[in-house]
């Protein structure tokens, strides 16, 4: 039967030439369009390392910063609200453009134990229940104990990359990092990475990797994070609330917003609630501001557009082909073939032709994919390691998705018109020209 399929295909090689080329081009373009969307979806599914679905963000304005009370005062007041489990304060700086709800995080080239690396340094008030309010857990799955202020907390990726594993509690790590080293006396930018300006830290805990924004994928620099104690006397104007399990976030905001406004203004009218929203909404706003969202949405729309065209094109083409083979169908039926045999033989022809076209397109696309991976490897600090580290998994996954999509569309384009035409009598089919 397979040799008959191939013979039939070869016999109609002139008619099939256009379709074959079309299938190659469509496969290639489908791959190009689907691959980024698959990567976007993969990024979204990666663990976030904290629990934004239970968090509320409050932005507070202090018209007169000198009259502002300590953060602990506001936190204690906020914790009295029903439904609030924990609260913390974070430094939020619009100019940082790094994190939506997290503390000011600086992405910078640093030296870690003599190795040059790109790190994210997050400054946080450990003593304000920072880690547990976020729901960050250490690598053993436990809550983070409040460490000494002169110790640091590192992420799993950081520990594995630069310290050889996650059993590093109590070990020393030496950092030359612009954010931290510039505070040292005698600091000189031209000698940023001199040993003189290394800062030794003891690791207090290792937490799971954190990604504040879901749309941000891992890069070689993130989530290699280091959390240092924020000892600067800044005006913290953002408070995070962790709600108890089962509390509806939007209902909480609706019910408690007036109370929070009153609470903040109660003492000296120096605090104003500038904004209250769920952490996820804040993250989405940050994603838009960081221009992460539009490219993702554009890619999705391109996929939809392309799939519609694919359906129209492939279904339409095979539909017209089926119509042209009506006489052939009539002859075969006159010789006793069943309808199912005819449909099956046309399907096999379509699948064989598509599979050959797919292999050709895969070979072409493979060159592009390898080239892309090389580009990312050379630009390793900010590149998405998925492209390089998981190249074959990604390639095979993308190939499978593309194969399934196009073969499904092709099958629909063959089955439906063939069955529809086969409903007619043999004589009608034989007379159709």
């Amino acid at each position: 039967m397979n040799s008959i399929t191939i013979k039939n295909l070869w016999a109609r090689k002139k008619q099939n030439a256009w379709i074959f080329i079309e299938l190659i081009v469509f496969t290639f373009v489908t791959w190009m369009v689907i691959e980024p969307v698959v990567k976007d979806s993969y990024r979204r599914l990666l663990p976030r390392g904290y629990e934004p679905e239970r968090m509320i963000v409050l932005d507070v304005d202090f018209p007169n910063p000198s009259l502002r009370k300590p953060s602990e005062y506001y936190i204690e007041q906020l914790k009295t609200i029903q439904g609030v489990e924990r609260a913390t304060a974070v430094n939020y700086d619009r100019y940082s453009d790094q994190y939506a709800i997290g503390s000011l995080g600086w992405l910078m080239v640093s030296e870690v134990n003599g190795d040059t690396a790109a790190l994210t340094v997050v400054s946080a008030r450990y003593d304000l229940d920072y880690f547990n309010t976020h729901g960050m857990l250490n690598v053993k799955g436990n809550k983070v104990d409040i460490p000494d202020r002169d110790k640091i907390v590192v992420s799993r990726s950081f520990a594995e990359s630069y310290m050889g594993g996650v059993d590093v509690i109590g070990k020393e790590v030496r950092l030359n990092c612009p954010r931290l080293s510039q505070k040292l006396p005698g600091f000189d930018w031209s000698r940023l990475f001199d040993r003189e300006f290394e800062i030794p830290f003891i690791v207090a805990d290792v937490i799971e990797d954190v990604r504040f924004c879901a749309a941000e994928g891992p890069t070689h620099s993130s989530p290699r994070e280091v959390f240092v104690y924020d000892d600067e006397n800044k005006v913290f104007n953002r408070f995070l609330l962790r709600l108890k399990s089962g509390v509806n976030l939007n209902k909480f905001i609706e019910v408690n917003k007036p109370e929070i406004e009153r609470m903040l203004c109660s003492d000296d009218d120096n605090a104003m609630l500038a904004g209250i929203d769920t952490a996820e909404e804040c993250n989405k706003a940050a994603e838009r501001e960081k221009q992460l969202v539009q490219p993702i949405q554009t890619r999705k729309i391109l996929v939809v557009f392309f799939l519609l065209n694919l359906i129209l094109g492939v279904v339409g083409t095979f539909w017209l082909q089926a119509k042209k083979r009506s006489e052939e169908m009539g002859i075969v039926m006159a010789f006793g073939a069943r309808r199912i045999d005819i449909v099956w033989s046309y399907l096999k022809e379509g699948w064989v032709m598509f599979t050959v076209a797919f292999v050709v397109a895969a070979c072409i696309y493979f060159n592009f994919a390898i080239y892309d991976a090389k580009i990312y490897e050379e630009n390793s600090y900010y590149a998405d390691p998925t492209i390089v580290d998981k190249f074959w998994s990604c390639f095979i996954l993308d190939a499978s998705i593309v194969y399934i999509i196009i073969s499904t569309v092709l099958s629909v384009g063959i089955i439906i018109p063939t069955i529809w035409m086969l409903k007619a009598k043999v004589t009608v089919l034989l007379n159709k020209q």
Binding site: V25, Y95, I301, F305, K324, R325
Partner: protein, 452 residues
């Protein structure tokens, strides 16, 4: 030739062809209208052809072998006076205005949101632009009452403000002439309204704000670091543009040779021995089109150079037009096989090949025009009914909270129709010509004998 009889002749082919064309034209025209809004002269940005954006001074440190290098931009700011020091004395410009909102994509809108107390005592948010008097010459706002602040107001740190009519309604009430009235801006003090303008659209982010004040009127303290997104410059013509580039290059060269406080402030950022520092003010100078492309959110990750991003847009255009063309190509090829005997008969009666080719192209052109017309109508409907979802893809959604409308000026601009026609023609030629040409090359006997 009767269009309807042509369509009815093969309903399946016609419907698939028209639908495919309509879809391609819809997506292409949506992009065309959006980029028309971004590129063409739209109120108040009616001088886009002559407008340039200077976002920073480029400082590059090259090592001796001229292969290494590091660079960054010194952004224009007021607090450290890089704008005042390095830009105010530029001569070859018609107008020049620093601006805190001209980041090109509204990205700086959030950073420029301030709170203003209305007459009811409610604090309202307003995007505030810190600029100078030339802003209203570069962006030709329509003044409904009053006048812009003057150069003297800027020199004297006067707290005057130009506000939009919509915002005036919000803080002073409707049907009130707010010129001369005062309002309080949180942490900045009281301002006097000197002019009221017709609001710009959020779709023109370089000029969209609710309040425009002199940049010198804001107290310079730790809380408010005044950082300009760009220094917006307008030139008279290409001649003045060339003169401006020469002036800036000469100035940059002088700074590189003689050193400057800006370089001392930056400090050395490379440990290269014998490194040479080169500054340039023209490297980061953008025309409006370049400014728009480089700040477009969709192309942000597609490379740092204009060429990289243009290639990206070209790729999108190719996908939008040529993929459907390929679709339709296959269908036309299939249909041509069916019509081979017809073509064979006509060729045997002496019809030249080009006549037959032209007939096929003409027939397909009818389908393409019908599909294109449907596509245009769907585009307009989509831009009205789904405008937020569509515009969010191309503009900063934080600016679109007030439901921006795409104006009739943009949707029905002559250029849009011309682009639609060109797209339709390209689509038709791409999809019909090649398969028709290949089919018509067959000898007459083969065409007549070709069985289905």
């Amino acid at each position: 030739m009767n269009i309807f009889s042509l369509i009815r002749e093969d309903k399946l082919f016609s419907s698939i062809y028209i639908t495919g064309t309509a879809m391609a034209i819809t997506f292409t025209m949506i992009m065309a209208i959006v980029y028309y809004i971004k590129l063409a002269d739209i109120y108040p940005e009616v001088n886009r052809k002559n407008t340039l954006y200077l976002s920073s001074i480029n400082v590059t440190q090259t090592s001796n072998d001229a292969n290494g290098g590091a660079g960054f931009g010194i952004y224009m700011d007021y607090n450290n006076s890089s704008y005042e020091t390095y830009c105010k004395d530029i001569k070859n410009v018609l107008y020049m205005a620093p601006s805190t909102i001209s980041g090109g994509n509204g990205k700086s809108a959030e950073n420029n949101t301030r709170r203003v107390k209305s007459k009811n005592g409610v604090w309202e948010s307003a995007i505030t632009n810190l600029t100078n008097q030339d802003f209203f010459n570069i962006y030709e706002f329509e003044f409904l009452s009053g006048a812009p602040f003057s150069a003297e107001d800027v020199e004297n740190n006067e707290c005057t403000a130009v506000i939009t009519r919509d915002f005036a309604d919000k803080i002073f009430g409707k049907d009130v002439n707010p010129v001369g009235e005062r309002f309080t801006m949180k942490s900045c003090g009281d301002f006097r309204v000197c002019g009221v303008v017709r609001s710009a659209s959020p779709l023109t982010p370089d000029s969209y704000a609710q309040i425009y004040v002199p940049y010198t009127s804001i107290s310079v303290n730790d809380s408010y670091f005044v950082s300009f997104s760009s220094v917006v410059v307008m030139v008279k013509d290409d001649e003045q543009l060339d003169a401006l580039k020469t002036e800036l290059d000469e100035w940059s060269h002088k700074m590189s040779m003689e050193g400057s406080p800006i370089l001392e402030a930056v400090g050395s950022f490379s440990s290269s021995i014998n490194a040479k520092v080169v500054t340039s003010m023209t490297n980061n100078m953008e025309t409006h089109a370049a400014h728009m492309i480089l700040t477009d959110p969709n192309s942000a990750s597609k490379g740092d150079t204009l060429n990289d991003r243009l290639l990206y847009f070209l790729g999108i255009f190719v996908i939008l037009l040529f993929v459907p063309a390929l679709n339709l190509c296959g269908m036309v090829a299939g249909r041509m096989e069916k019509r081979l005997p017809e073509m064979g008969v006509r060729k045997s009666f002496g019809a030249p090949r080009h006549t037959l080719l032209f007939q096929v192209v003409k027939e397909n052109m009818i389908f393409t025009i019908v599909g294109g017309a449907f596509g245009l109508v769907v585009t307009w409907m989509a831009l009205v009914l789904f405008r937020n979802s569509i515009l969010e893809l191309f503009f900063d959604s934080s600016l679109l909270k007030n439901s921006a409308m795409v104006s009739g000026e943009a949707m029905f601009a002559p250029l849009v129709f011309i682009f639609a026609f060109v797209s339709i023609t390209i689509l038709n030629l791409a999809s019909a010509t090649l398969p028709a040409y290949i089919s018509l090359r067959k000898p007459i006997v083969e065409s007549l004998n070709d069985k289905q």
